[in-house]
């Protein structure tokens, strides 16, 4: 119906100036600042948990929280990098140190609970409020991220959604730890970890539809 040369002529004839995207790291910092403000707002609206200082005095607990934050930060940087054409897929590995610290601290926390409380440390009850809190916090963070990397639909929608989902869920989980108390590390591992896995899988699963729905930003 139309030759490639005709298409090139049309595109060249109608091209308008565009503003190139700011560097990926700068945009990641911008999103992280926005996310920190949103999470801080949510934490303050619930009220910081009263035993926070005591909990953070325990190295395992502090490491667990730092691991979640580090995972979120590194995953956010990876998201902005991998969403751009020409960037290496190896950026997907960037969150691994944070993830290792987070999961390692949680596993150590499970062992520490076992030493302190014995078999009671393995008691697992329902904590749907954790899942709900992580999902609802992930939503505004995820929408902001989707808008900022909307061009990724034409580049790597699945990979971008995967690390993007990890970024929003990890930061949501870190925020939740500041206002919500869960009895054991195993509960945190199951409910926080499960909610994070749910967000990551959902983001990856619907990535193509999501990016197609929003479309790339136009000049």
């Amino acid at each position: 119906m139309r030759t490639t040369e005709q298409l090139i002529d049309q595109l060249a004839a109608t091209v308008v100036p565009v503003v190139p995207l700011k560097p990926a790291l700068l945009r990641a910092v911008g999103w992280l600042a926005l996310s920190a403000a949103i999470v801080a707002g949510i934490v303050l609206s619930h009220g910081v948990r009263p035993d926070l200082a005591a909990q953070f005095a325990r190295p395992v607990m502090a490491a667990e929280w730092l691991g979640a934050v580090l995972t979120g930060v590194l995953a956010a940087v990876a998201t902005f990098q991998v969403s751009l054409p020409g960037r290496s897929r190896r950026w997907l590995l960037l969150p691994l140190p944070g993830l290792t610290l987070w999961l390692g601290a949680l596993c150590l926390g499970c062992l520490a609970d076992w030493f302190r409380h014995g078999p009671a440390a393995w008691a697992v009850g329902p904590s749907w409020s954790c899942v709900q809190a992580i999902l609802t916090t992930s939503l505004p963070l995820g929408i902001a991220l989707l808008v900022m990397v909307r061009h990724a639909g034409l580049v790597r929608p699945g990979a971008t959604a995967l690390v993007g989902g990890l970024a929003v869920a990890a930061l949501s989980a870190a925020g939740l730890s500041l206002y919500h108390h869960v009895d054991t590390a195993l509960m945190v591992l199951i409910w926080h970890g499960g909610a994070v896995a749910l967000v990551v899988c959902a983001a990856w699963g619907v990535s193509e539809r999501l990016f197609a729905w929003i479309g790339p930003a136009r000049a």
Binding site: R2, Q10, L11, A12, P20, V155, E208, A212, R218
Partner: protein, 206 residues
Amino acid sequence: MTAGAPVARAASPASAGDDAWGLLMARAQAGDRQAYGQLLSEAAPYLRALALRYLGSGPDLEDAVQEILLSVHAIRHTYEPSRPFRPWLATIASRRLIDVLRRRSRHVRHEVEESAAGPEAAGDELDPSVIAGRVVDIRSVRQAVAALPVRQREAVRLLRLQELSLEEAATASGQSTGALKVACHRALKSLREMLTGGKGGASAHD
């Protein structure tokens, strides 16, 4: 091999072609139409060679090249002038070509399912009266489609002629699904008016 390759070989560093294309894209980002036309014209043979490697020769080869060009156009703001151009282009191209391959395998699956459904479905296709009933003035349809604004034409081509899903068409064209729906609706309305001699031509809205 390609038009892109001689550009790359013109100077000894492998990045020489990148630099030239990168400079052209930087000028295109500033609105330089001539630079943009030159860039796309020089890149098209490179993209065609890439498409040939992924897809082999086939009827959808040129469509694939055009889809890549449309994607490049849609996200040209993501190119950072300080970086090499060719990896940027290759990432977009390989994504589009993988989409085409996925589409092909889906079409083959549908054809297999249809043929497994029995010969009745294909029977009508051989009936001369049915064929005669479907004869249309192809030339006037082509002229009418060509008269549509760019986005409407893209919507018709991707959704009606290539029969892509809304998501696939959105990805290929760089338009949102909502914008595509609107463009397709307006295009069909305009086509109906043009082909039935109704008032007005193509909708002025793009």
